[in-house]
């Protein structure tokens, strides 16, 4: 589950000065023709670097994203939800596996990526630094965060890097089930007992601000991404994704009799654009930089898991084996 948006460093003109102009032109022509770039093809260093960064952040978002929902597996009410919640969270871990493999084709190992995650060097989707207080929070994540992720990932599936785009196609197919599961769970809560309705509205109120930041800062404040858009690394702007999400899901939320906690939220019929209270981007930056309600806890869990599992990985290492990049 990944909303993208906040991952790119500004690209500098200098970054491309060292590249062979003929190769660069051919590379750009291939992308313009809609061809996919494969692991052993020539690519500019900047392309490789930004892709590793993006795919790695996506992979981290999947395993960290498994934590807030994962805590509700053992508490899910009834067999139907218990089995679905397990399958859903397992899918997310499976996505991480696929994505780490896709990133490995660009030359960074899974072990290195996980080390960077634990050390706080690489980021993951900011929403997972917020807690899932109740079962209803977990339902809101399954529905709306997965919905947001689909909007972003469907766009990126059309991107230029072959292994990432193929992984995303598979991931989106699974996320579509998560969305149905999440929606079904929210419908049961929203049409259930007064207590259930109260729980789901409270969860929506808690999650709305993080959801609004899920696609990253507004385009007017984002760093320049023209080169990355031309290379089909970034496929849609943050605001485009946010607008598409609001268009698809706000009516569905209202349909359930739930209230969106933003008095300014409305669709401007003339422009066709949604208007809303600007999210608190200062908080967003603070949380991304480590000062959110759950940053420390999420990383501590991951670190503990890595430390406790280290002996297994050591035992599996065969000194005679040679490292090979995965097939993609």
């Amino acid at each position: 589950m990944y909303g993208g948006g906040n991952v790119f460093e500004a690209t500098k003109f200098d970054d491309l000065q060292t590249e062979d102009p003929a190769k660069l032109a051919e590379f750009e022509a291939r992308i313009a023709r809609g061809e996919k770039i494969e692991p052993n093809d020539w690519m500019p260093q900047l392309y490789r670097k930004q892709l590793i960064r993006m795919i790695e952040q996506h992979a981290h978002s999947e395993i960290i994203g498994a934590l807030p929902e994962g805590t509700w597996i053992t508490r899910a009410p009834g067999f139907r939800r218990k089995m679905a919640q397990m399958a859903k969270v397992q899918d997310e871990v499976g996505h991480a596996q696929l994505l780490y493999s896709a990133a490995e084709t660009l030359g960074k190992t899974r072990e290195q990526m996980l080390t960077d995650l634990i050390n706080g060097k690489s980021k993951y989707s900011n929403v997972f630094n917020y807690p899932a207080f109740t079962w209803a929070d977990s339902n809101i994540i399954s529905w709306l965060i997965d919905a947001g992720a689909i909007v972003n990932q469907m766009a990126n599936a059309k991107g230029s890097y072959g292994p990432y785009s193929r992984a995303l196609e598979r991931i989106c197919a699974e996320e579509a089930f998560h969305l149905k599961y999440g929606h079904d769970a929210v419908v049961h809560m929203a049409t259930g007992s007064p207590k259930q309705r109260e729980m789901i509205q409270a969860a929506l109120n808690r999650w709305w601000p993080p959801i609004m930041t899920f696609f990253g800062p507004s385009d007017k404040m984002s760093t320049h991404t023209e080169t990355l858009m031309r290379w089909k690394v970034k496929m849609a702007s943050n605001d485009e994704c946010r607008q598409q999400f609001l268009d698809m899901y706000v009516p569905k939320i209202w349909e359930l009799g739930l209230t969106v906690p933003d008095p300014n939220l409305k669709k401007n019929m003339e422009t066709g654009q949604w208007e809303y209270t600007e999210p608190d981007w200062d908080e967003f930056k603070r949380v991304i930089n480590g000062d959110g309600p759950c940053n420390a806890e999420r990383l501590a869990v991951r670190r503990t898991a890595e430390e406790r599992g280290a002996w297994v990985r050591r035992a599996l290492l065969n000194p005679k084996a040679k490292y090979v990049k995965p097939l993609a």
Partner: protein
């Protein structure tokens, strides 16, 4: 056929799978490698699904619906063996438990697929195909890690020693044991145990692990009669935390 004896057997089968499925699911997000995270989560789904199949048979015999049975009983009403309720511990303990338990469970399912009691035979026939993969997973990992580093072997051996008394408790006879055997429902726990021993020994022989001498081991019995360790009730409380907010609600 004595219906109480059949129900007793079904509760034992269902509760074992539910509780171990629940424990396995606690590995989601915490596995030593992603592949094992996913594997334990997969087995958890199978096992919870198996428990549902057995609770459904119980419902057909007049017991309450599966959700009520699974989510509202107290520990002293559970018939699972004590091995499955123990906390996951480190990966070595979870793996050893998985190895000891699933090698027994598949034998029970194989025997039950020949049962004179047709509803169980049908379900067991279907489920043993899934448990086969759980056994394959356990045996592969025990063989791999059990011949790897000194550290891994020491850890596994220590977990094996710790788990064996509880594992022997899996074969605690029910009060209807003789009846079930005579009616051809299945050959009983002693028969399961004898075959289990052969199979786990065959795997352990290919490793640097040694089965403790059973003469020196006191089996942990009582689970089949509702006696449990202090770990089961907290597990059940957690499992029912949301369900009990409103047991009549549809979640």
């Amino acid at each position: 056929m004595n219906e109480l004896a059949i129900k007793d057997l079904l509760y034992k089968l269902a509760d074992d799978q539910l509780i171990l499925g629940h424990r396995n699911s606690e590995w989601t997000g915490f596995g030593p490698i992603l592949e094992e995270d996913i594997a334990f989560s997969s087995m958890a789904q199978d096992k919870i699904g198996h428990s549902l199949a057995f609770y459904t048979l119980l419902q057909e015999l007049g017991e309450a619906d599966p959700d009520t049975v699974a989510f509202t009983r107290n520990a002293n009403q559970f018939h699972n063996n004590q091995l499955v309720e123990l906390p996951n511990g480190e990966y070595d303990f979870s793996l050893i438990r998985h190895f000891l338990y699933d090698n027994a469970e598949i034998i029970r399912f194989e025997m039950l697929s020949q049962s004179s009691y047709e509803p169980i035979a049908k379900v067991a026939t279907k489920l043993k195909g899934e448990v086969k993969y759980h056994v394959l997973h356990a045996n592969t990992w025990i063989k791999n890690l059990g011949t790897s580093t000194e550290e891994a072997i020491l850890r596994l051996q220590s977990s094996l020693n710790e788990a064996i008394p509880y594992a022997l408790g899996m074969f605690e006879p029910s009060k209807y044991e003789q009846e079930l055997i005579e009616a051809g429902v299945y050959p009983g726990e002693e028969a399961v145990k004898a075959e289990w021993l052969k199979r786990i020994q065959a795997v352990l022989e290919k490793t640097d692990l040694k089965l403790p001498d059973f003469a020196t081991v006191e089996p942990k019995m009582g689970g089949r009669y509702g006696e449990h360790t202090e770990h089961l009730q907290p597990l059940l409380d957690e499992m029912a935390e949301v369900f009990k907010i409103d047991p009549t609600a549809e979640w």
